[in-house]
């Protein structure tokens, strides 16, 4: 069972570059989330989606964009990367939003230099 798959696992980006963090789930979950976790800190919600075609901002959306064209995929786009975006990014999914368990991917460790 794959669950939630994130790619890449590691990435070093130069200031001003752009990239897309991929997230895919094979559990047919409607709800998907993107979080960032800075060293020694908690999880901050960037964006979330309640189904294909529907996305909404979380706590820290600035500098990021998302799209949800299919149930399975929820990519996170970083435009004009900045050192402040150095973090570990986690994608998660759940079947019924906050009422059910969230399954997390293994994370993408991003460094912006």
């Amino acid at each position: 069972n794959a669950g939630v798959t994130q790619t890449p696992k590691f990435r070093i980006l130069k200031i001003g570059q752009s990239m897309t963090l991929q997230c895919a789930q094979d559990m047919n979950h409607n709800y998907m989330y993107w979080y960032r976790q800075d060293p020694g800190m908690g999880l901050k919600l960037i964006y979330y989606s309640v189904g294909a075609g529907i996305t909404d901002k979380g706590e820290v959306p600035n500098g990021y964009n998302v799209s949800r064209s299919t149930t399975e995929d929820f990519p996170l786009r970083l435009e004009l990367a900045a050192p402040s975006q150095t973090s570990v990014y986690f994608c998660a999914s759940s079947s019924r939003g906050g009422n059910t368990e969230a399954f997390f991917g293994q994370g993408t460790r991003l460094t912006v230099v």
């Binding site: 901050k44 706590e59 009422n99």
Partner: protein, 109 residues
């Protein structure tokens, strides 16, 4: 608004008990508890839905006071494997799942 967790850190001897608290200023539909080991993804422990339900999982249990918008995680007879950072997550009517800043737990032999 991010839920508030306390304490920020706890150090225990193996076999001791601990309580981790989580509170929110917003009306909640559910409270989640996760544990994260260093360098790994958070792992689900349990979820509590509104209704004051208490759940248990071996020696780890939790309660949810819907009226006070508070939850507590109870760790009894702690084991070395309990070490890690514990996060509470809260969900409101918008289905946003947001997390507290975490409680670091260290269990020593």
């Amino acid at each position: 608004q991010q839920p508030v967790q306390s304490p920020q850190a706890v150090i225990l001897r193996e076999g001791e008990d601990a309580v981790i608290n989580c509170s929110s200023s917003k009306a909640l539909y559910s409270v989640h508890w996760y544990r994260q080991k260093h360098g790994e993804a958070p792992v689900f422990l349990m979820i509590l839905l509104k209704g004051g339900e208490q759940k248990g999982h071996e020696k780890i249990s939790a309660s949810f006071n819907e009226k006070k918008q508070q939850s507590s995680l109870y760790l009894t007879a702690s084991q070395l494997s309990y070490s890690g950072t514990y996060f509470c997550g809260t969900a409101d009517s918008s289905y946003k799942l947001i997390f507290g800043s975490g409680t670091r737990l260290l269990v020593r032999p």
